[in-house]
Symmetry: C3
Subunit: 447 residues, 3 copies
């Protein structure tokens, strides 16, 4: 068992939130893309907290319908005006260069240059984030104010990048539990200086992995820090059989802002992860929104493709594409904070509590109610204001523990938190009124 | 396949609406009943557009629990006052005579006459529509103003009708498709000059049959223009085995007014026709009302009797019995128009598109998403404002095409129109990303 | 069959309500507890109306996880002040003594006494009802005004009770029907002078049993008047096999006040009793509230324990614990009345009509509609304002009587009262259009 009590309830919120924020801040400046040294450097920083294995997959490797692209790296980039002043400098923001831009170093007219510039006219102070992974191109992203300040003169344009044979890099950590059944956590590592999307998720998963590495668990926990789309596809192509062990999964991104939360269900829709997330939202975060699966989003798209159909959902605070800071320079370290990261962490912890501890029991005195008083059970639950709730939890667990209702089934039907139902079950098991009846009904079948 | 593109979207609404209206107007003056020359004359007019076969079933023939009644015909009818003036003249409106009135020609007092007169006191300018098929009787229908204008004098009353051995007449047209699976359309032909109920349905089905007669279809399409109740019963009694081929069916009446639309589900409730109609309403006509089955209405009562339980629903604009013009002289040619008829026609066409084309596909690259860009699929869907929707349609079709989801399943889950999903499937099939996986799951089983 | 017509509709509401009220009033003054002469005296009064068998189960008998406690009886109790005046007198209200108080007769200080006094500070004129069955203790209950009037003086305290070897008493009546399938009615007999909770239920069941004793029924009807919790457990322990015959059951309490009504479903949730109660509420008492099962309440807790899981629900007017009079001296004869008791009785009668008469029929003319007119069915349902409803009932019964829909299924789908549907079925059976198709689908399987 993972923990004697409920893990979620034991968290020191402030400390964990600050740890995650610090790590997110540390990796925020690094220029990442779907390949390259930025990813490696990021993973090295994360690996100081947990023993992440870095995998390198060579350019040209076929992964299902895709091929690992050439590796992209960038040293410098700028636009200089006729007076030799840098009007745009990569050193100021790695968003200034469109990801996967091919190298360029030329003088060109403003009009030629402008055909390669991307701005956000309606958010004139923000730099957009743009990529061109699969079409050879180069480009600069800048604020619309910078764009309108360009004159009709000749500019020196430099993108000192390389696009060469190399490899795609991803990080992986496996915490082995009592069983081979796995819980997968996955975060994309390919975005440059965007704090919420997804320094937040990368850092949160690192600290979650760190904590799990120190405890005994029933499930095994697999963590992936991989480039979006191509990274998840690569892992699935290299681990096709292993993927069948995944019983629960969460893709995590944008977990540091103050919006949401939202959970998008897996393609299955009624997987245990779907029910557990719904339960945690309902009991602890009623503002949370549960969405049905759709095939657009982050890497749940790959995990939920029909050939895998894994029970993997998406957890976010603000949903991608719906907030003004999304994919702009406003998604910076001011947009996330320790408190939000801590509440995201706590939510995931509560879900782990459920999937670790959900199981079926059998009431040893199933005919009529057992006499609770003579077993000291009324005393055991105390006389405080929570006593009536705890007493109801005892009755619910006794009534439904017929071997076919899991603790989550009971929590749902009783409309009580899993932790309270689990506490009641523990107490009843101690007093001999419950015996384990297997996990069968409490688990998702293999995919 | 019926059509390469979506049929509904190719309609010239104005032209088809005007054609249907013209035909409805042509048959409007004819005095119809459940038997007689009016039905024959009506079918002859309809048969100018499509090769309708006229069936004659002799009086006395037993059809399940019923018997074909004597044939009724009428030449003239009037009420003359003491001065020999016609105060009521059948030539002015065939609603003036209660259908199946036995012949009468006598002088009688106003009080004796009044016992045979039907009016609508709350709609004093309208003539009601009345019948007495199975109880021998005679009667006149008139406006309440005409009724109150009758004096205490002797009237000459004439109904020059015959009720004799003869036959019941119904029309039938079968368009043979690739399979013996049938889509049944049925409209009642027994009402006299009532435009919406049901000249509208008779004319619409004629033009629908005409159009279908010119194209290749997968399903076979059977059209019935038959007297209400006894006509449908007669057809079922004579075609008991053939009826088992009916996979989808619609009874149509009152399809030319501006109300509704409404669809009443078949007794099965979840037949493909029920889902298809619900889908079309939701996507294209959100004001439409879907009703649960009930055993009162038009001939769906017979098709959905427990011994047949066919997947046949009812499509109407305004629902029978709920509008003030219903079964009165106000249900005239002013109450229907070409535009309404065209939108009813378009709705049915959209449903035909669904049942013709609904099937299951299998994604040939089911493991992770295929790379759409390298196949030119982003280009294929264009860059217009519909591109995001079309792109989502591609993702939905790829994600759910596991051999067990039909295109309608996908359209329902994606909350997108069937046509958009079908276009996406066609594109993916062309690019080799989809292969047909049979129709099994996409069809209703035999009844 | 229980009754030719609907029983519920034949009730003389006023008379039955007054009979039940009179019996409730007669037993109201008796001091009852979970054992003792009060229970016996109560059952003797009830037994004047129907032949109740009184069972005595000795102290110390083990019943599942419980043991029959010692028998408690009380003759007198008072608190006298220093002047010898009785400030509290058991003769005024048997609520003054906490049930199962051990004997005491001493002079004591006001402060020592006060540790044994229970009041309701927020309802200062009401005496609370308290018990201490399984922890040896004694106590007085009084109004808060009486409590605050106590002075700092020495009081003489008497509780002349006995707690000795004896027995637990419960009453039982079985009306044998054509089958061994049983309908269980159960009411708790352990509360002292509380009129609604549960003199109302005890009296109602007595009159219900009396009426059933005089008619032939299909089901057998078992009535239990037993102490709460321990009484139901005792009966189940002594009748474990017999309990498997229980097909439907209702626990009844608080059936005389003007609140509610409410029905709490059995643990099964979709048992016939659950559907029948829901149907009766929806059709006849739309203010009624249907609650999902929960394992707290009255003796449905025992009947619905997982080792039995019987289809037994709870019927109440005001729900326990939710009204200010609950478990106080305000739950007196003014709180209940004949009219409320009669409407509770009528509700139960309507449910009995359903479970007695629910069955499946088969339409003998299933292909198309039979011709109702030639069988005189339109005449049979009359021409009054209910004729359209009765006509619809005929159509619904004919349409759904395919051998797999019970009359309750039909009533639910048609949204018509069971009585109307049953009348239609009777008429159709008489005319040869229906034949019985067994009860299988209309019944709950054994537990």
């Amino acid at each position: 068992m993972l923990l004697e009590g409920s893990w979620a309830s034991q968290l020191d919120d402030r400390a964990i939130g600050e740890d995650i924020f610090a790590l997110a801040a540390e990796i925020y400046p690094i220029c990442r893309s779907i390949t390259g040294d930025g990813v490696r450097e990021t993973l090295r920083r994360l690996a100081r907290h947990v023993e992440i294995i870095m995998h390198e997959v060579p350019t040209g490797t076929e992964v299902f319908d895709w091929t690992i692209p050439r590796e992209w790296n960038i040293r410098d980039a700028y636009i200089k005006n006729a007076r030799g002043e840098k009007v745009i400098d990569f050193a100021n923001s790695n968003l200034h260069v469109m990801s996967y831009s091919v190298p360029v170093h030329r003088h060109m007219s403003a009009s030629e240059l402008k055909a390669h510039i991307y701005t956000l006219p309606e958010q004139p102070d923000l730099i957009p984030y743009r990529t061109s992974y699969y079409a050879e191109n180069w480009g600069f992203c800048m604020t619309h104010r910078q764009f309108t300040a360009l004159h009709d003169e000749t500019y020196e344009v430099l993108i000192d990048s390389t696009l060469e044979e190399g490899s795609l890099t991803y990080g992986e950590y496996l915490h082995e539990g009592e069983t081979e059944d796995e819980f997968l956590f996955s975060a994309h590592v390919c975005h440059p200086s965007l704090a919420d999307d997804n320094c937040s998720g990368l850092a949160l998963l690192s600290h979650l992995a760190k904590r799990l590495s120190k405890v005994k668990t029933r499930l095994s926990y697999r963590f992936l820090w991989a480039p979006g789309t191509i990274g998840a596809i690569t892992w699935l192509a290299r681990n096709e059989e292993r993927a069948r062990n995944i019983r629960h999964g969460l893709v995590m991104s944008c977990v540091g802002d103050g919006g949401g939360p939202m959970y998008k269900k897996s393609r299955r829709g009624t997987a245990l992860i779907d029910r557990a997330m719904s339960h945690v939202f309902k009991q602890h975060w009623p503002d949370g929104v549960i969405q049905e699966f759709s095939p657009y989003g982050y890497d749940e798209r790959q995990y939920c493709s029909p050939g895998f159909n894994l029970p993997v959902g998406l957890f976010q605070r603000s949903q991608f594409g719906t907030f003004p800071e999304y994919h702009t320079s406003a998604d910076n370290l001011d947009f996330i904070n320790a408190e939000n990261l801590a509440s995201s962490y706590r939510t995931i912890s509560a879900v782990i509590d459920i999937v670790e501890n959900n199981r079926c029991f059998r009431n040893t005195q199933p005919k009529c109610e057992p006499q609770l008083g003579k077993r000291g059970l009324y005393t055991a639950i105390g006389g405080d204001k929570d006593a009536p709730k705890k007493s109801m939890a005892l009755l619910w667990v006794l009534n439904l523990s017929d071997g076919s209702h899991s603790l989550l089934d009971i929590a749902e039907r009783a409309d009580m938190s899993f932790a309270v139902i689990q506490d009641a079950a523990r107490l009843l098991e101690e007093r001999g009124l419950l015996v384990a009846a297997g996990r069968k009904a409490a688990q998702d079948p293999a995919g």
